[in-house]
Subunit: 200 residues, 2 copies
């Protein structure tokens, strides 16, 4: 049987990069992106600092990977649903659930994505913004489809998308892992309010 | 007539503190709280650094004043409306308008309040959190009052308050001063969606 050390050595480049990104997201969430150093990160991953630099040239490069991973997860989940042809209202519930579930599985990514876009190097800042805008446009298009199908009334689709993102994304400020409500239950309540309204 | 300089000298302590807090909020918004130094701030206000320290002992103290000012504004506006006895649905529209209007008049305060709570000294962190929780509880109570009055259906009042805060507070991520919609128009659309729902 391989020892733990030999197993560690046999990790692929991409597995190791993934481990660094995951650990960095947690570290940045706990101590703040600006306060966390490459020394802290190397220590948290359990590798020497030169080894860390073998995988990532800078802290900004890791920051960019966290952003990329987060938005690609959202885009990928939504893409698979669009292909499955769910009705707009159901797709919307899944969109709302996605980000709340990521607060459970990727809480570090969530804070970094929402608070540190400005710290990205210029090229990455643009590319992430384009993906984020594309995702926002897809959710606005979903609302438009619902309106065309007669399921939703004629609201401003962009303001509708921003209301959806607001309700769900804002939860990163108050959601606690292990609280009394599961991510999907919270998403369902928000979705129900957004679709039916709270008026009698 | 007094010269500009003599007028400046005659400013009261509280006027000068106010000027520093306002300038600091703009500076922290533009450059990030962690990047902005007391040197930058003294320069932006147009005073010497020792003079700045005469008004505030530390950057954290200024951070605390920004937080205090922001939450006191929200609490004060809401308090006056409660005394005026507006119906819950109307009060809710005003609550939603308040924070969107503050993105126009106090945009630096908004970002600082939402992103730098963790950087506050412990005592201030607790006192600000208590005020923020009190405000959240007041908005939840408003939803409960609407339910009791038969205007709103029986939703979870806390989740309802978090939906309201989410839609409106999140706008600090996308709201641009001078855009095509006024703060009150955005608040109205969110309020309309939240009360009536988007379903047909």
């Amino acid at each position: 049987m391989p020892t733990k050390d030999s197993a560690r050595r046999r990790r692929t480049l991409s597995e190791r990069r993934q481990e660094i990104v995951t650990t960095a997201a947690e570290l940045f969430d706990r101590h703040g992106y600006n306060n966390a150093t490459m020394d802290d990160l190397a220590h948290a991953v359990g590798i020497a600092k030169p080894t860390l630099y073998h995988y990532f040239g800078s802290k900004e490069e890791i920051l960019a990977s966290i952003h990329e991973e987060f938005i690609d997860l959202l885009l990928g989940k939504h893409q698979r649903r669009r292909q499955a042809g769910l009705p707009p209202a159901q797709q919307l519930l899944e969109v709302m659930t996605d980000v709340l579930e990521l607060m459970e599985s990727h809480r570090g990514h969530v804070r970094v994505f929402f608070e540190h876009h400005r710290e990205l190097p210029a090229a990455e800042r643009d590319s992430i913004r384009d993906k984020r805008d594309a995702y926002e446009a897809q959710v606005a298009a979903l609302i438009e489809q619902g309106t065309s199908a007669g399921t939703f009334r004629a609201v401003d689709p962009r303001i509708g998308a921003l209301a959806v993102f607001g309700m769900c994304n804002w939860a990163y400020q108050w959601y606690r892992i292990g609280g009394s409500l599961e991510p999907r239950q919270i998403a369902y309540q928000f979705w129900d309010m957004f679709l039916r309204g709270i008026s009698t």
